[in-house]
């Protein structure tokens, strides 16, 4: 299977790998939202952490970790690059199809982009829940 150059670049040198602390630590942080999607049995788990600037409401930093194939790792890397500097609404609007296009994912790998989209949404929802923000602004999916 031939992968695109962009995909290989993101796989070999992924952006924003890491976290803002242990699971227990980030749970205490009001400014951090965590999304964990997928399952080990399915061969893909993505963990996305967003750090929100609470004065501007923008995502100032994002970190990911991913257990998965090369496409899953690259999709997570792209997702973190894209959401940095965006408002929660803007980040919510990112679609998996955008990632498919960016990385030229083959059809069997589309689920990787879906996971990336889901991880963004899950992290935002976690942040909103922590801060008592109702998901009123959430776009219909």
């Amino acid at each position: 299977m031939a992968y695109s150059e962009k995909l290989i670049k993101h796989y070999e040198k992924p952006s924003n790998v890491g976290n803002f602390g242990t699971t227990a630590e980030v749970k205490q942080r009001q400014d951090i939202g965590v999304g964990v999607v997928g399952a080990p049995e399915c061969g893909d788990v993505m963990q996305l952490q967003i750090k929100v600037d609470q004065s501007t409401g923008k995502i100032e930093d994002a970190k990911f970790k991913c257990f998965g194939c090369g496409s899953a790792i690259a999709s997570s890397s792209v997702a973190t690059e894209w959401i940095k500097g965006k408002t929660l609404d803007e980040a919510m609007a990112i679609k998996n199809t955008d990632i498919v296009e960016e990385l030229a994912l083959p059809p069997v790998k589309i689920h990787c982009s879906v996971l990336a989209e889901d991880s963004i949404k899950a992290a935002i929802k976690d942040y909103q829940k922590k801060n008592g923000i109702e998901a009123a602004q959430t776009h219909a999916h």
Partner: protein, 412 residues
């Protein structure tokens, strides 16, 4: 001799054709090109003589008589012919009825056995798919317990293609002969690497392929016992009546010559080869286990072919791992390498969890594998697993003491 990249460690998938095999084949494309079925001229005779010689080479490798060898296109065809052909021949009731007889096979057989067995179910046969124990080895006891009065056929592979485990074939053969049940074994991974004697081992039908033993693709052999008992199968490919009517179609003479040569070379070299491969495999496994924590060897560690290693690297996904070691050609039990989202059904049948099945690699060595290639693989895999664990949220959770199995994952 330096290291040439990429390194090929996927010899259980297919092997490089031995140059001596290619050399033996070449005259049969342009010089000796007659149809062995042409009985009336010397072009035909020359080809027929070459086929006869190859049939002897193939028979000698497994302790059979040349007349007991049928040339096929490979093990997929051979397994189809053996399983469907024997079931049809020994059916207790005619086509169209139910209860035509009982067949025993196992869940971790190759698809080329499982799918013909499933076809038999549609044709009115009962099929038992034995569940392998955790070490993957099917025992004669297990087969015995599944036998019924109407059992007509047992098909158990000699050695498994994904994990290399060796089933109790001679014992299963003896059991089948006690009960007058036909015994077929898919010996694709076994023959050519391990000593084989169809008489001693109690085999009625045996199938193997050229391309796993340094011969060409598209050619294989099938052994059909001719005495004590005389075994017969119903042909699945009909036409000109070649191969004593068992397999019609003009013989693939260059392929057959190459197959024969490949069999002969294996017979000569397998003993020293086996020792060398075992040393390489031991080094590979020992070093990986030394440098990487949380690895597991899948399948029985002792009852195993010397050239196959199947290892799970916890918290790292197989395809991601393959991409990180892209200079090494291996296989993975991960779903991501196939179109389906299911991980290896072989590992699953052994009770290996889906997560560890996704984390598995199969490395298989062969005649052309060099020690420096194994060293390279050890170095690269060690690096890649550590690198990917740095990326793995599961590794973090594990290190933080979180029980991954207790988490309610969102299944997709």
């Amino acid at each position: 001799m330096g290291l040439t990249l990429p390194v090929y460690l996927d010899n259980a998938a297919t092997t490089r054709v031995d140059p001596r095999v290619v050399e033996a084949m070449l005259p049969y494309f342009t010089d000796v090109y007659g149809n062995p079925g042409s009985r009336n001229h010397r072009f035909g005779w020359a080809s027929e003589a070459a086929v006869d010689a190859a049939r002897k080479q193939a028979a000698d490798l497994i302790g059979a008589q040349p007349k007991e060898i049928i040339f096929t296109s490979g093990s997929t065809e051979g397994n189809n012919l053996a399983i469907k052909g024997a079931a049809e021949m020994y059916a207790k009731k005619p086509t169209g009825q139910e209860g035509r007889g009982h067949v025993i096979t196992a869940q971790h057989e190759h698809k080329a056995v499982l799918d013909p067995a499933k076809r038999l179910q549609k044709l009115g046969f009962d099929v038992t798919f034995l569940e392998p124990p955790a070490d993957g080895v099917i025992t004669a006891e297990q087969v015995k317990a599944a036998m019924r009065d109407d059992t007509i056929l047992v098909s158990i592979m000699w050695a498994n293609n994904e994990i290399g485990t060796i089933n109790e074939v001679p014992k299963i053969g003896a059991l089948c002969h006690e009960r007058d049940v036909i015994f077929h074994t898919d010996a694709t991974q076994w023959v050519g690497k391990m000593p084989t004697d169809v008489e001693r081992d109690g085999i009625d039908l045996l199938t193997w392929s050229g391309h796993k033993i340094y011969g060409p693709k598209g050619i294989g052999g099938m052994y059909v016992r001719r005495r004590k008992p005389r075994v017969r199968v119903v042909a699945q490919i009909e036409g000109g009546g070649q191969e004593r009517g068992y397999r019609s179609g003009t013989l693939n003479v260059p392929g057959i010559v190459g197959f024969g040569k490949a069999c002969e070379l294996c017979a000569q070299e397998m003993d020293s080869e086996r020792e060398r491969l075992l040393k390489l495999r031991t080094k590979l496994e020992t070093e990986l286990a030394k440098h990487i924590e949380h690895v597991q060897i899948n399948g029985n560690k002792d009852k195993r072919l010397p050239n196959i290693m199947n290892m799970s690297f916890g918290f790292v996904e197989g395809e991601g791992l393959m991409m990180a070691i892209k200079d090494i050609a291996v296989s993975s039990g991960s779903a991501c390498t196939s179109a389906s989202l299911e991980p290896s059904y072989v590992l699953k049948s052994l009770g290996v969890g889906d997560d560890l099945a996704h984390s598995s690699l199969r490395l298989s060595m062969g005649r052309f594998t060099k020690e420096e290639e194994v060293d390279f693989a050890i170095e690269k895999i060690t690096w890649a697993v550590h690198h990917l664990r740095e990326l793995s949220p599961l590794w973090d959770m594990f290190k933080e003491g979180i029980d991954i199995n207790a988490i309610e994952w969102q299944q997709h």
